[in-house]
Symmetry: C2
DNA sequence: TTGTTTGTTGACCAAAAAGTCAACAAAGTA
DNA sequence: TACTTTGTTGACTTTTTGGTCAACAAACAA
Protein backbone atom coordinates (compact mmCIF):
# COMPACT_ATOMS: atom_id res chain seq x y z
CA UNK A 1 0.00 0.00 0.00
CA UNK A 2 2.19 2.81 1.25
CA UNK A 3 1.44 6.10 2.92
CA UNK A 4 -2.10 7.45 2.53
CA UNK A 5 -3.20 11.05 2.03
CA UNK A 6 -6.10 13.33 1.33
CA UNK A 7 -3.91 16.19 0.13
CA UNK A 8 -5.23 15.78 -3.39
CA UNK A 9 -8.77 16.30 -2.13
CA UNK A 10 -7.78 19.29 -0.03
CA UNK A 11 -6.18 20.74 -3.14
CA UNK A 12 -9.34 20.22 -5.20
CA UNK A 13 -11.49 21.81 -2.51
CA UNK A 14 -9.16 24.77 -2.17
CA UNK A 15 -8.92 25.24 -5.92
CA UNK A 16 -12.66 25.20 -6.44
CA UNK A 17 -13.42 27.62 -3.67
CA UNK A 18 -10.69 30.04 -4.73
CA UNK A 19 -11.74 29.91 -8.38
CA UNK A 20 -15.34 30.44 -7.38
CA UNK A 21 -14.61 33.32 -5.07
CA UNK A 22 -12.02 35.10 -7.15
CA UNK A 23 -11.35 33.72 -10.64
CA UNK A 24 -9.15 31.21 -12.38
CA UNK A 25 -6.67 33.78 -13.63
CA UNK A 26 -6.41 35.60 -10.33
CA UNK A 27 -5.16 32.69 -8.28
CA UNK A 28 -1.77 30.99 -8.27
CA UNK A 29 -0.50 27.53 -7.45
CA UNK A 30 0.92 29.02 -4.26
CA UNK A 31 -2.49 30.42 -3.28
CA UNK A 32 -4.06 27.01 -3.68
CA UNK A 33 -1.29 25.29 -1.73
CA UNK A 34 -1.55 27.82 1.08
CA UNK A 35 -5.31 27.37 1.40
CA UNK A 36 -5.07 23.57 1.20
CA UNK A 37 -2.11 23.52 3.63
CA UNK A 38 -0.11 21.48 1.17
CA UNK A 39 3.44 22.14 0.04
CA UNK A 40 4.10 22.81 -3.61
CA UNK A 41 6.08 19.62 -4.00
CA UNK A 42 2.95 17.67 -3.11
CA UNK A 43 0.90 19.73 -5.54
CA UNK A 44 3.08 18.59 -8.42
CA UNK A 45 3.09 15.07 -7.05
CA UNK A 46 -0.68 14.88 -7.61
CA UNK A 47 -1.33 17.30 -10.48
CA UNK A 48 0.48 18.43 -13.57
CA UNK A 49 -0.71 22.01 -13.52
CA UNK A 50 -3.36 24.41 -12.29
CA UNK A 51 -5.52 23.51 -15.29
CA UNK A 52 -5.22 19.82 -14.51
CA UNK A 53 -6.30 20.43 -10.93
CA UNK A 54 -9.18 22.61 -12.06
CA UNK A 55 -10.60 19.85 -14.23
CA UNK A 56 -10.36 17.38 -11.35
CA UNK A 57 -11.91 19.87 -8.93
CA UNK A 58 -14.86 20.57 -11.23
CA UNK A 59 -15.46 16.89 -11.79
CA UNK A 60 -15.32 16.18 -8.07
CA UNK A 61 -17.69 19.02 -7.23
CA UNK A 62 -20.24 17.88 -9.75
CA UNK A 63 -20.07 14.29 -8.50
CA UNK A 64 -20.64 15.62 -5.00
CA UNK A 65 -23.65 17.64 -6.12
CA UNK A 66 -25.27 15.02 -8.26
CA UNK A 67 -27.19 13.21 -5.47
CA UNK A 68 -28.79 16.52 -4.52
CA UNK A 69 -29.91 17.04 -8.10
CA UNK A 70 -31.23 13.50 -8.27
CA UNK A 71 -33.40 14.17 -5.24
CA UNK A 72 -34.51 17.64 -6.37
CA UNK A 73 -35.44 16.35 -9.82
CA UNK A 74 -36.93 13.09 -8.66
CA UNK A 75 -39.82 11.90 -10.89
CA UNK A 76 -41.87 11.54 -7.71
CA UNK A 77 -42.11 15.34 -7.57
CA UNK A 78 -44.47 17.42 -9.70
CA UNK A 79 -42.38 18.52 -12.71
CA UNK A 80 -42.67 22.29 -12.29
CA UNK A 81 -42.15 21.88 -8.57
CA UNK A 82 -38.78 20.26 -9.29
CA UNK A 83 -37.56 23.37 -11.03
CA UNK A 84 -39.08 25.69 -8.48
CA UNK A 85 -37.51 23.81 -5.57
CA UNK A 86 -34.17 23.79 -7.34
CA UNK A 87 -34.33 27.55 -7.88
CA UNK A 88 -35.29 28.13 -4.28
CA UNK A 89 -32.38 25.99 -3.11
CA UNK A 90 -29.98 27.95 -5.29
CA UNK A 91 -31.35 31.19 -3.89
CA UNK A 92 -30.81 30.00 -0.34
CA UNK A 93 -27.36 28.72 -1.25
CA UNK A 94 -26.36 32.11 -2.61
CA UNK A 95 -27.66 33.87 0.48
CA UNK A 96 -25.67 31.50 2.68
CA UNK A 97 -22.54 31.95 0.57
CA UNK A 98 -22.88 35.68 0.86
CA UNK A 99 -23.20 35.43 4.61
CA UNK A 100 -19.92 33.54 4.86
CA UNK A 101 -17.83 35.10 2.14
CA UNK A 102 -19.36 38.56 1.91
CA UNK A 103 -20.08 37.96 -1.75
CA UNK A 104 -22.72 36.45 -3.98
CA UNK A 105 -20.69 34.07 -6.12
CA UNK A 106 -23.14 32.79 -8.73
CA UNK A 107 -22.46 29.62 -10.69
CA UNK A 108 -18.84 28.44 -10.69
CA UNK A 109 -19.24 26.52 -13.93
CA UNK A 110 -20.59 29.40 -15.98
CA UNK A 111 -18.29 32.01 -14.52
CA UNK A 112 -15.22 29.88 -15.12
CA UNK A 113 -16.48 28.72 -18.50
CA UNK A 114 -16.85 32.26 -19.75
CA UNK A 115 -13.39 33.10 -18.48
CA UNK A 116 -11.35 30.26 -19.90
CA UNK A 117 -13.32 29.01 -22.92
CA UNK A 118 -10.61 30.27 -25.24
CA UNK A 119 -7.70 29.54 -22.95
CA UNK A 120 -7.99 25.94 -21.89
CA UNK A 121 -9.86 23.38 -23.91
CA UNK A 122 -9.79 20.66 -21.23
CA UNK A 123 -11.52 22.87 -18.68
CA UNK A 124 -14.01 24.13 -21.25
CA UNK A 125 -14.90 20.58 -22.27
CA UNK A 126 -15.38 19.50 -18.66
CA UNK A 127 -17.68 22.45 -18.00
CA UNK A 128 -19.70 21.70 -21.13
CA UNK A 129 -20.01 18.12 -20.00
CA UNK A 130 -21.31 19.12 -16.56
CA UNK A 131 -23.67 21.74 -17.96
CA UNK A 132 -24.96 19.21 -20.44
CA UNK A 133 -25.75 16.90 -17.53
CA UNK A 134 -27.59 19.68 -15.73
CA UNK A 135 -29.59 20.37 -18.86
CA UNK A 136 -30.87 16.80 -18.82
CA UNK A 137 -32.57 17.38 -15.47
CA UNK A 138 -34.30 20.48 -16.79
CA UNK A 139 -35.25 18.82 -20.03
CA UNK A 140 -36.76 15.85 -18.27
CA UNK A 141 -38.82 18.08 -15.99
CA UNK A 142 -40.02 20.08 -18.99
CA UNK A 143 -40.99 16.91 -20.84
CA UNK A 144 -43.04 15.73 -17.90
CA UNK A 145 -44.60 19.17 -17.46
CA UNK A 146 -45.57 19.28 -21.10
CA UNK A 147 -47.28 15.89 -20.89
CA UNK A 148 -49.41 17.24 -18.08
CA UNK A 149 -50.04 20.51 -19.87
CA UNK A 150 -48.11 22.47 -17.25
CA UNK A 151 -45.61 23.93 -19.69
CA UNK A 152 -45.95 25.34 -23.20
CA UNK A 153 -45.38 22.74 -25.91
CA UNK A 154 -42.31 22.69 -28.14
CA UNK A 155 -38.79 21.33 -28.31
CA UNK A 156 -37.94 20.56 -24.70
CA UNK A 157 -34.18 20.52 -25.24
CA UNK A 158 -34.34 24.04 -26.66
CA UNK A 159 -36.62 25.13 -23.84
CA UNK A 160 -34.22 23.72 -21.27
CA UNK A 161 -31.30 25.50 -22.88
CA UNK A 162 -33.12 28.83 -22.87
CA UNK A 163 -34.47 28.47 -19.37
CA UNK A 164 -30.98 27.74 -18.12
CA UNK A 165 -29.60 30.73 -20.00
CA UNK A 166 -32.15 32.89 -18.21
CA UNK A 167 -31.39 31.23 -14.88
CA UNK A 168 -27.63 31.60 -15.32
CA UNK A 169 -28.00 35.16 -16.57
CA UNK A 170 -29.82 36.13 -13.40
CA UNK A 171 -27.14 34.42 -11.33
CA UNK A 172 -24.38 36.27 -13.15
CA UNK A 173 -26.20 39.53 -12.55
CA UNK A 174 -26.47 38.73 -8.85
CA UNK A 175 -22.74 38.04 -8.71
CA UNK A 176 -21.82 41.28 -10.42
CA UNK A 177 -24.09 43.38 -8.19
CA UNK A 178 -23.35 41.27 -5.14
CA UNK A 179 -27.06 41.15 -4.51
CA UNK A 180 -28.71 37.85 -3.62
CA UNK A 181 -32.17 39.31 -3.11
CA UNK A 182 -32.78 39.64 -6.84
CA UNK A 183 -32.74 35.83 -6.78
CA UNK A 184 -35.63 35.56 -4.33
CA UNK A 185 -38.05 35.39 -7.25
CA UNK A 186 -35.80 33.13 -9.32
CA UNK A 187 -38.23 30.21 -9.24
CA UNK A 188 -41.24 32.39 -10.13
CA UNK A 189 -39.48 33.96 -13.03
CA UNK A 190 -38.04 30.79 -14.48
CA UNK A 191 -41.29 28.85 -14.15
CA UNK A 192 -43.25 31.67 -15.71
CA UNK A 193 -40.77 31.78 -18.54
CA UNK A 194 -41.27 28.11 -19.30
CA UNK A 195 -45.00 28.36 -19.02
CA UNK A 196 -45.07 31.16 -21.56
CA UNK A 197 -42.33 30.50 -24.08
CA UNK A 198 -43.55 29.02 -27.31
CA UNK A 199 -41.22 27.12 -29.57
CA UNK A 200 -39.17 29.38 -31.76
CA UNK A 201 -39.30 26.92 -34.65
CA UNK A 202 -42.89 25.61 -34.51
CA UNK A 203 -42.79 23.84 -37.87
CA UNK A 204 -39.90 21.56 -37.07
CA UNK A 205 -40.81 18.52 -34.96
CA UNK A 206 -37.24 17.49 -34.12
CA UNK A 207 -34.33 19.90 -33.73
CA UNK A 208 -32.07 19.70 -36.79
CA UNK A 209 -29.10 21.29 -35.06
CA UNK A 210 -28.05 19.67 -31.79
CA UNK A 211 -27.99 22.52 -29.29
CA UNK A 212 -25.50 20.97 -26.90
CA UNK A 213 -23.01 20.12 -29.60
CA UNK A 214 -19.79 22.06 -29.47
CA UNK A 215 -18.82 23.94 -32.56
CA UNK A 216 -15.11 24.33 -32.23
CA UNK A 217 -14.04 25.14 -35.73
CA UNK A 218 -10.44 26.23 -35.98
CA UNK A 219 -9.69 29.94 -36.13
CA UNK A 220 -9.26 31.08 -39.74
CA UNK A 221 -5.71 32.27 -39.03
CA UNK A 222 -3.49 33.34 -36.13
CA UNK A 223 -6.08 35.03 -33.96
CA UNK A 224 -3.42 37.20 -32.34
CA UNK A 225 -3.71 39.54 -35.29
CA UNK A 226 -7.42 40.22 -35.13
CA UNK A 227 -9.35 42.86 -33.36
CA UNK A 228 -12.86 41.97 -32.23
CA UNK A 229 -13.57 45.53 -31.17
CA UNK A 230 -13.82 46.73 -34.74
CA UNK A 231 -17.54 46.21 -35.05
CA UNK B 1 2.09 71.72 -26.89
CA UNK B 2 4.80 69.11 -27.28
CA UNK B 3 4.94 65.78 -29.02
CA UNK B 4 1.60 64.15 -29.85
CA UNK B 5 0.65 60.48 -29.69
CA UNK B 6 -2.14 57.99 -30.01
CA UNK B 7 -0.31 55.28 -28.08
CA UNK B 8 -2.83 55.55 -25.25
CA UNK B 9 -5.65 54.78 -27.66
CA UNK B 10 -3.76 51.89 -29.22
CA UNK B 11 -3.25 50.53 -25.71
CA UNK B 12 -6.95 50.81 -24.93
CA UNK B 13 -7.90 49.08 -28.16
CA UNK B 14 -5.39 46.30 -27.61
CA UNK B 15 -6.45 45.81 -24.00
CA UNK B 16 -10.13 45.58 -24.82
CA UNK B 17 -9.67 43.14 -27.64
CA UNK B 18 -7.33 40.92 -25.64
CA UNK B 19 -9.61 40.93 -22.60
CA UNK B 20 -12.57 40.16 -24.80
CA UNK B 21 -10.86 37.37 -26.67
CA UNK B 22 -9.05 35.74 -23.77
CA UNK B 23 -9.75 37.13 -20.29
CA UNK B 24 -8.48 39.78 -17.93
CA UNK B 25 -6.42 37.41 -15.85
CA UNK B 26 -4.88 35.63 -18.82
CA UNK B 27 -3.22 38.67 -20.34
CA UNK B 28 -0.18 40.61 -19.20
CA UNK B 29 1.03 44.15 -19.58
CA UNK B 30 3.59 42.81 -22.04
CA UNK B 31 0.86 41.16 -24.13
CA UNK B 32 -1.00 44.44 -24.36
CA UNK B 33 2.14 46.37 -25.24
CA UNK B 34 3.08 43.88 -27.94
CA UNK B 35 -0.35 44.04 -29.56
CA UNK B 36 -0.48 47.84 -29.34
CA UNK B 37 3.12 48.12 -30.57
CA UNK B 38 3.98 50.30 -27.62
CA UNK B 39 6.96 49.89 -25.30
CA UNK B 40 6.33 49.23 -21.65
CA UNK B 41 7.80 52.57 -20.64
CA UNK B 42 5.07 54.29 -22.61
CA UNK B 43 2.44 52.06 -21.04
CA UNK B 44 3.36 53.35 -17.60
CA UNK B 45 3.60 56.87 -18.93
CA UNK B 46 -0.12 56.75 -19.73
CA UNK B 47 -1.54 54.27 -17.24
CA UNK B 48 -0.86 53.24 -13.66
CA UNK B 49 -1.69 49.57 -14.08
CA UNK B 50 -3.56 46.99 -16.11
CA UNK B 51 -6.69 47.70 -14.08
CA UNK B 52 -6.41 51.42 -14.75
CA UNK B 53 -6.11 50.76 -18.47
CA UNK B 54 -9.04 48.36 -18.38
CA UNK B 55 -11.33 50.99 -16.89
CA UNK B 56 -10.26 53.50 -19.54
CA UNK B 57 -10.70 50.92 -22.30
CA UNK B 58 -14.21 49.99 -21.19
CA UNK B 59 -15.23 53.61 -20.91
CA UNK B 60 -13.83 54.37 -24.35
CA UNK B 61 -15.55 51.38 -25.93
CA UNK B 62 -18.90 52.29 -24.46
CA UNK B 63 -18.57 55.91 -25.61
CA UNK B 64 -17.80 54.59 -29.10
CA UNK B 65 -20.82 52.31 -29.06
CA UNK B 66 -23.30 54.79 -27.65
CA UNK B 67 -24.24 56.50 -30.96
CA UNK B 68 -25.16 53.09 -32.36
CA UNK B 69 -27.42 52.45 -29.40
CA UNK B 70 -28.98 55.88 -29.75
CA UNK B 71 -29.90 55.09 -33.32
CA UNK B 72 -31.06 51.54 -32.60
CA UNK B 73 -33.24 52.71 -29.71
CA UNK B 74 -34.47 55.89 -31.36
CA UNK B 75 -38.03 56.81 -30.28
CA UNK B 76 -38.86 57.08 -33.98
CA UNK B 77 -38.75 53.27 -34.16
CA UNK B 78 -41.55 50.99 -32.95
CA UNK B 79 -40.57 50.02 -29.39
CA UNK B 80 -40.42 46.24 -29.83
CA UNK B 81 -38.66 46.73 -33.13
CA UNK B 82 -35.88 48.57 -31.31
CA UNK B 83 -35.11 45.53 -29.22
CA UNK B 84 -35.48 43.15 -32.11
CA UNK B 85 -33.14 45.19 -34.30
CA UNK B 86 -30.64 45.42 -31.49
CA UNK B 87 -30.70 41.65 -30.99
CA UNK B 88 -30.29 41.05 -34.70
CA UNK B 89 -27.33 43.41 -34.81
CA UNK B 90 -25.70 41.60 -31.89
CA UNK B 91 -26.24 38.28 -33.64
CA UNK B 92 -24.59 39.55 -36.80
CA UNK B 93 -21.78 41.07 -34.77
CA UNK B 94 -21.07 37.75 -33.08
CA UNK B 95 -21.07 35.94 -36.42
CA UNK B 96 -18.64 38.47 -37.82
CA UNK B 97 -16.41 38.22 -34.74
CA UNK B 98 -16.34 34.47 -35.08
CA UNK B 99 -15.35 34.74 -38.71
CA UNK B 100 -12.35 36.88 -37.85
CA UNK B 101 -11.22 35.45 -34.53
CA UNK B 102 -12.47 31.89 -34.81
CA UNK B 103 -14.47 32.39 -31.63
CA UNK B 104 -17.83 33.67 -30.47
CA UNK B 105 -16.85 36.17 -27.79
CA UNK B 106 -20.14 37.23 -26.21
CA UNK B 107 -20.43 40.42 -24.19
CA UNK B 108 -17.13 41.86 -22.95
CA UNK B 109 -18.78 43.70 -20.07
CA UNK B 110 -20.56 40.69 -18.58
CA UNK B 111 -17.70 38.28 -19.11
CA UNK B 112 -15.20 40.63 -17.51
CA UNK B 113 -17.64 41.66 -14.81
CA UNK B 114 -18.16 38.08 -13.70
CA UNK B 115 -14.43 37.51 -13.68
CA UNK B 116 -13.23 40.48 -11.68
CA UNK B 117 -16.22 41.54 -9.55
CA UNK B 118 -14.42 40.44 -6.40
CA UNK B 119 -10.95 41.42 -7.56
CA UNK B 120 -11.10 45.01 -8.70
CA UNK B 121 -13.74 47.40 -7.50
CA UNK B 122 -12.95 50.15 -10.02
CA UNK B 123 -13.51 47.85 -12.98
CA UNK B 124 -16.64 46.39 -11.42
CA UNK B 125 -18.09 49.83 -10.83
CA UNK B 126 -17.35 50.92 -14.40
CA UNK B 127 -19.06 47.82 -15.77
CA UNK B 128 -22.09 48.38 -13.56
CA UNK B 129 -22.25 51.95 -14.78
CA UNK B 130 -22.19 50.90 -18.42
CA UNK B 131 -24.69 48.10 -17.90
CA UNK B 132 -26.95 50.48 -16.07
CA UNK B 133 -26.84 52.76 -19.09
CA UNK B 134 -27.72 49.89 -21.38
CA UNK B 135 -30.63 49.00 -19.13
CA UNK B 136 -32.07 52.48 -19.67
CA UNK B 137 -32.45 51.83 -23.39
CA UNK B 138 -34.29 48.58 -22.73
CA UNK B 139 -36.44 50.13 -20.04
CA UNK B 140 -37.46 53.01 -22.24
CA UNK B 141 -38.42 50.66 -25.07
CA UNK B 142 -40.45 48.55 -22.66
CA UNK B 143 -42.21 51.61 -21.29
CA UNK B 144 -43.20 52.69 -24.77
CA UNK B 145 -44.24 49.14 -25.68
CA UNK B 146 -46.43 48.90 -22.59
CA UNK B 147 -48.20 52.19 -23.44
CA UNK B 148 -49.10 50.70 -26.79
CA UNK B 149 -50.08 47.36 -25.28
CA UNK B 150 -47.22 45.60 -27.06
CA UNK B 151 -45.63 44.29 -23.87
CA UNK B 152 -47.05 42.81 -20.68
CA UNK B 153 -47.66 45.42 -17.99
CA UNK B 154 -45.58 45.65 -14.83
CA UNK B 155 -42.44 47.26 -13.46
CA UNK B 156 -40.46 48.15 -16.57
CA UNK B 157 -37.14 48.44 -14.74
CA UNK B 158 -37.52 44.90 -13.44
CA UNK B 159 -38.59 43.69 -16.85
CA UNK B 160 -35.56 45.31 -18.46
CA UNK B 161 -33.26 43.71 -15.91
CA UNK B 162 -34.70 40.26 -16.50
CA UNK B 163 -34.78 40.58 -20.27
CA UNK B 164 -31.13 41.57 -20.22
CA UNK B 165 -30.27 38.65 -17.94
CA UNK B 166 -31.86 36.35 -20.49
CA UNK B 167 -30.12 38.10 -23.36
CA UNK B 168 -26.73 38.00 -21.64
CA UNK B 169 -27.26 34.42 -20.53
CA UNK B 170 -27.79 33.35 -24.12
CA UNK B 171 -24.68 35.28 -25.16
CA UNK B 172 -22.59 33.61 -22.47
CA UNK B 173 -23.85 30.23 -23.61
CA UNK B 174 -22.87 31.07 -27.19
CA UNK B 175 -19.39 32.02 -26.01
CA UNK B 176 -18.88 28.83 -24.07
CA UNK B 177 -20.07 26.61 -26.91
CA UNK B 178 -18.47 28.82 -29.54
CA UNK B 179 -21.73 28.66 -31.44
CA UNK B 180 -23.19 31.84 -32.89
CA UNK B 181 -26.14 30.14 -34.55
CA UNK B 182 -27.99 29.72 -31.27
CA UNK B 183 -28.21 33.53 -31.36
CA UNK B 184 -30.08 33.60 -34.66
CA UNK B 185 -33.38 33.56 -32.78
CA UNK B 186 -32.17 35.96 -30.08
CA UNK B 187 -34.62 38.69 -31.04
CA UNK B 188 -37.58 36.30 -31.22
CA UNK B 189 -36.82 34.82 -27.87
CA UNK B 190 -36.23 38.07 -26.05
CA UNK B 191 -39.29 39.77 -27.52
CA UNK B 192 -41.46 36.80 -26.71
CA UNK B 193 -40.11 36.83 -23.19
CA UNK B 194 -41.12 40.43 -22.70
CA UNK B 195 -44.50 39.93 -24.25
CA UNK B 196 -45.23 37.10 -21.86
CA UNK B 197 -43.59 37.91 -18.55
CA UNK B 198 -45.96 39.24 -15.97
CA UNK B 199 -44.70 41.29 -13.07
CA UNK B 200 -43.36 39.13 -10.28
CA UNK B 201 -44.69 41.54 -7.63
CA UNK B 202 -48.09 42.56 -9.02
CA UNK B 203 -49.28 44.29 -5.83
CA UNK B 204 -46.47 46.80 -5.65
CA UNK B 205 -46.83 49.77 -8.00
CA UNK B 206 -43.27 51.10 -7.58
CA UNK B 207 -40.25 48.93 -6.92
CA UNK B 208 -39.24 49.23 -3.27
CA UNK B 209 -35.72 47.91 -3.82
CA UNK B 210 -33.71 49.62 -6.54
CA UNK B 211 -32.59 46.79 -8.82
CA UNK B 212 -29.53 48.55 -10.20
CA UNK B 213 -28.25 49.55 -6.80
CA UNK B 214 -25.04 47.87 -5.76
CA UNK B 215 -25.09 46.02 -2.50
CA UNK B 216 -21.48 45.92 -1.50
CA UNK B 217 -21.66 45.18 2.16
CA UNK B 218 -18.32 44.37 3.71
CA UNK B 219 -17.37 40.72 4.14
CA UNK B 220 -18.16 39.53 7.66
CA UNK B 221 -14.52 38.63 8.24
CA UNK B 222 -11.35 37.72 6.32
CA UNK B 223 -12.89 35.85 3.42
CA UNK B 224 -9.67 33.91 2.88
CA UNK B 225 -10.82 31.53 5.56
CA UNK B 226 -14.19 30.58 4.10
CA UNK B 227 -15.16 27.82 1.80
CA UNK B 228 -18.11 28.48 -0.51
CA UNK B 229 -18.12 24.89 -1.70
CA UNK B 230 -19.52 23.61 1.59
CA UNK B 231 -23.15 23.89 0.56
C1' DT C 1 18.24 79.16 -31.14
C1' DT C 2 17.06 78.09 -26.97
C1' DG C 3 13.81 76.42 -23.95
C1' DT C 4 9.69 73.85 -22.62
C1' DT C 5 6.49 70.37 -22.89
C1' DT C 6 5.12 65.86 -24.22
C1' DG C 7 6.07 61.41 -25.49
C1' DT C 8 9.54 57.27 -26.53
C1' DT C 9 12.99 53.92 -25.70
C1' DG C 10 15.76 50.08 -24.00
C1' DA C 11 18.23 48.65 -20.42
C1' DC C 12 17.65 47.47 -15.92
C1' DC C 13 15.87 45.75 -11.23
C1' DA C 14 12.90 43.32 -8.01
C1' DA C 15 9.26 40.42 -7.09
C1' DA C 16 6.35 36.77 -8.09
C1' DA C 17 5.41 32.79 -10.30
C1' DA C 18 6.15 28.09 -11.99
C1' DG C 19 8.47 24.02 -11.65
C1' DT C 20 12.34 20.48 -9.87
C1' DC C 21 14.54 17.34 -6.81
C1' DA C 22 17.12 14.71 -3.38
C1' DA C 23 16.30 13.42 1.06
C1' DC C 24 13.08 12.01 4.27
C1' DA C 25 8.74 9.79 6.52
C1' DA C 26 4.94 6.76 7.05
C1' DA C 27 2.47 2.81 5.92
C1' DG C 28 2.03 -1.92 4.62
C1' DT C 29 4.46 -6.48 3.28
C1' DA C 30 7.81 -10.45 2.56
C1' DT D 1 13.89 -6.56 10.04
C1' DA D 2 14.42 -5.19 5.61
C1' DC D 3 12.02 -3.86 1.63
C1' DT D 4 8.61 -1.50 -1.25
C1' DT D 5 5.31 1.79 -2.18
C1' DT D 6 3.26 6.14 -1.48
C1' DG D 7 3.41 10.62 -0.02
C1' DT D 8 5.99 14.98 2.15
C1' DT D 9 9.23 18.56 2.56
C1' DG D 10 12.08 22.66 1.88
C1' DA D 11 15.53 24.39 -0.52
C1' DC D 12 16.55 25.30 -5.08
C1' DT D 13 16.45 27.03 -10.25
C1' DT D 14 14.24 29.18 -13.93
C1' DT D 15 10.98 31.98 -16.10
C1' DT D 16 7.75 35.45 -16.22
C1' DT D 17 5.95 39.66 -14.87
C1' DG D 18 5.61 44.21 -13.08
C1' DG D 19 7.67 48.37 -12.59
C1' DT D 20 11.57 52.19 -12.88
C1' DC D 21 14.63 55.42 -15.03
C1' DA D 22 17.97 58.30 -17.41
C1' DA D 23 18.68 59.57 -21.88
C1' DC D 24 16.68 60.75 -26.07
C1' DA D 25 13.23 62.68 -29.74
C1' DA D 26 9.61 65.41 -31.61
C1' DA D 27 6.67 69.29 -31.52
C1' DC D 28 5.84 73.98 -30.65
C1' DA D 29 6.81 78.79 -28.53
C1' DA D 30 9.62 82.82 -27.10
Amino acid sequence: MGRTSNADQRLMDAALSLIWERSYGAITVDDICRKAEVKKGSFYYFFDSKADLAVAALDRYWREQKPLWDSQFSPTIEPMQRIRAHCDAVYRQQVAIKERTGRVLGCPFCTLGSEICKQDEAIRAKICEILSNKTKYWESAINDAQKEGLAAPGNSAEKARCAMAYFEGLLAQARLHNNAETLASLGDRVCEHMLASRDSSPGKPSSPSAPTSVETTAPPVESEEFDPTKY
